[in-house]
């Protein structure tokens, strides 16, 4: 997907949205580039849907500017923007059949009857539901209705498509299939997709970049891998993946930063630009799947004795819950067969260790 760093397709410039006394979106700034698949993710009430709706024109920003293709669109009405949306409830018109639903956007633009019928049919074929053109919406399955909704939004060949949790209501296996459809579609068309969801798996599976939002603010914008491996804030570290967070004070700041925590002393190779000084409060983040487990001490740096509490199977991966010396939770993810080789009993002492280069320090410890 070609990116054009010189000019983003969409620009949010310190946009705030207030509803009465509540601030739903708090001064966010965001660039969205042409041809990328961007997800906005966060817990309920974080402001992701409001952000999307502001882009579509369904809400007006209380402060700040939104630009589309270089032009300020704050005052452009919904109908005049070309930002079609796929709704969570699909919002298909029940009184129109499939093909008339798809034609709708073209009809509003004054396209002739024959041309819009042809274009609508092309899109139905592309989404493999051309056979259903004359059916009523109620006769279609959930997955088929999804495709109609997609066709309806894309038939006007927009530069950008907005998606508001479209897969939330689908069965698990259908979700996986639709994710494939969406990714393939986006790559073929080369247009920008802005996708809102609360599910990590969806965002990570399909996106080029992910925006994590919390309480109206953007916590981090990065590729899926970047967010996973280098969470920028405590919220992201706790929200995404399975991370262990150890808070402490910096006691040495050389090639490796050493921190003192209630659970022990640990070293971390920090590769961000931030310079650490002794006495700084910080948190160390180490992902559960980068931890090695053994029943006896190996005496490396970054080793800790924990008490085994329980294990949780999720298919071939198992999450081990342990307790640190100072009573906090600690999670380790490993393959099931590795765990069975260790043969652990509840309450047994286990030794966890990790590489200094795998850990990561958070500047923001709130």
């Amino acid at each position: 997907m070609p990116t054009n760093p010189a000019q983003p397709l969409v620009l949010f410039d310190h946009v705030t949205k207030r509803f009465g006394l509540t601030t739903a979106v708090d001064s966010i700034s965001l660039e969205i580039f042409e041809g990328e698949f961007l997800s906005i993710m966060g817990p309920s009430g974080c402001g992701k849907t409001t952000t999307l709706r502001m882009l579509a024109g369904l809400e007006e920003p209380s402060e700040g500017d939104i630009q589309l293709a270089g032009e300020r669109i704050n005052n452009v009405t919904v109908s005049e923007r070309d930002t079609p949306m796929v709704w969570q409830s699909l919002a298909l018109f029940p009184f129109l059949n499939v093909i008339k639903n798809v034609e709708f956007g073209l009809k509003m633009r004054g396209v002739s009857a024959t041309e819009r019928r042809q274009r609508a049919l092309d899109w139905l074929e592309r989404l493999e539901i051309a056979d259903f053109a004359d059916r009523e919406i109620s006769q279609l399955s959930g997955g088929q209705q999804q495709r109609v909704a997609l066709a309806r939004s894309l038939v006007t060949e927009p530069r950008i498509l907005l998606l508001d949790e479209p897969l939330s209501a689908l069965d698990a296996n259908l979700v996986v299939r639709m994710q494939g459809v969406l990714t393939k579609l986006q790559k073929e068309l080369g247009i920008t997709f802005v996708y809102v969801t609360h599910r990590q798996s969806e965002a990570f599976a399909m996106s080029d970049r992910v925006v994590i939002m919390n309480q109206g603010r953007i916590e981090q914008i990065d590729s899926a891998k970047g967010i996973y491996r280098n969470p920028a804030t405590r919220f992201v570290a706790e929200f995404v993946g399975a991370n262990n967070i150890l808070t402490g004070t910096v006691i040495a700041a050389d090639e490796l930063i050493e921190i003192e925590t209630p659970a022990g002393r640990f070293k971390c190779a920090e590769n961000s630009d931030h310079t650490w000084s002794i006495g700084d409060t910080t948190s160390l983040v180490i992902s559960a799947d980068l931890i090695r487990l053994s029943t006896s001490a190996v005496n490396e740096t970054n080793e800790m004795a924990c008490r085994f509490i329980s294990e949780e199977f999720v298919g071939s991966i198992v999450t081990v819950l342990a307790e640190t010396p100072d009573g906090a939770d600690f999670r380790i993810q490993l393959q099931q067969r590795e765990l069975s080789e260790l043969d652990l009993n509840v309450g047994a002492t286990i030794y966890v260790r990790w590489d200094s280069h795998d850990a990561h320090l958070l500047r923001d410890t709130t």
């Binding site: 579509a56 024109g57 369904l58 009405t77 919904v78 109908s79 005049e80 070309d82 930002t83 079609p84 949306m85 709704w87 969570q88 409830s89 919002a91 018109f93 029940p94 009184f95 129109l96 709708f104 956007g105 009809k107 509003m108 633009r109 309806r152 939004s153 006007t156």
Partner: protein, 268 residues
Amino acid sequence: MIRAKAYDGLFYFYVALVFVFVFLPILTSFVFSFNSERFPTIPLGHFTLHWYTLAFTDADVWDAFRVSLIVSVSVAFIATFLGFCTAYTDYRYNFFGKSAYLALSLLPPTIPLVIMGLAMLALLARIGMSGKIISIIVSHVVLCSPFAMAIVRMRLAQIDPNLESAAWNLGASQWRTMREVIVPFCAPALISAFCLTAAVSFDEFAVAWFVSGLNKTVPVIILEILQGNTDPRINAIGSVVFVTSITLIILAQIIYMRKSSRKTLTGF
């Protein structure tokens, strides 16, 4: 369902009794409209269309039907339109004084018709408008709009809240959305409201009696005949009125049931 018991039969019998009470007068009127005897009682005479011919060769009766037709169709259009606007405003907007607005729209059925008739007549007579067809139309619209409003509002309650937004999002202006989305969606309710208001207007006698003056509607004629001696023509006229009204009501219900997901007008 509560567990069936032996005396459930009693309950069903009771329900049957209620239905008999409600429908018997209608049926007898129907039967006697074809009965040869002048005074309706048993045993029956022979089958005849005499009363129908008598009733419908009377110019007054024809006039009355003509007036009733004009009135009820006009009322249906206007009341349905007003009902739709009110229902949509209630659905879409929240504004200061909304409760008062709603109360005003829904209050008319609570005022006894006699009083409405009196009030309307008094006012219209004062401004020289009584006795005209338009006066009947105006009065009936006041009475019927609440029904239209209720029906359309129920339909709007079923709409996907994002449907309007979706239409705007796809490039439809507010006006076009109204035309291409809201109205088609409400179509079964609109037709239903049309039929219902037509039926109510067609059947309404009290206000019409006060206000119509020389332009009598059919119920007014019936009232006048009623005040005279027993006249079997009433059965004939009444049966026609009944068949017309009931056809409209049944149409209203069926259209609503078929086209929307609700099963009856009251939502079962």
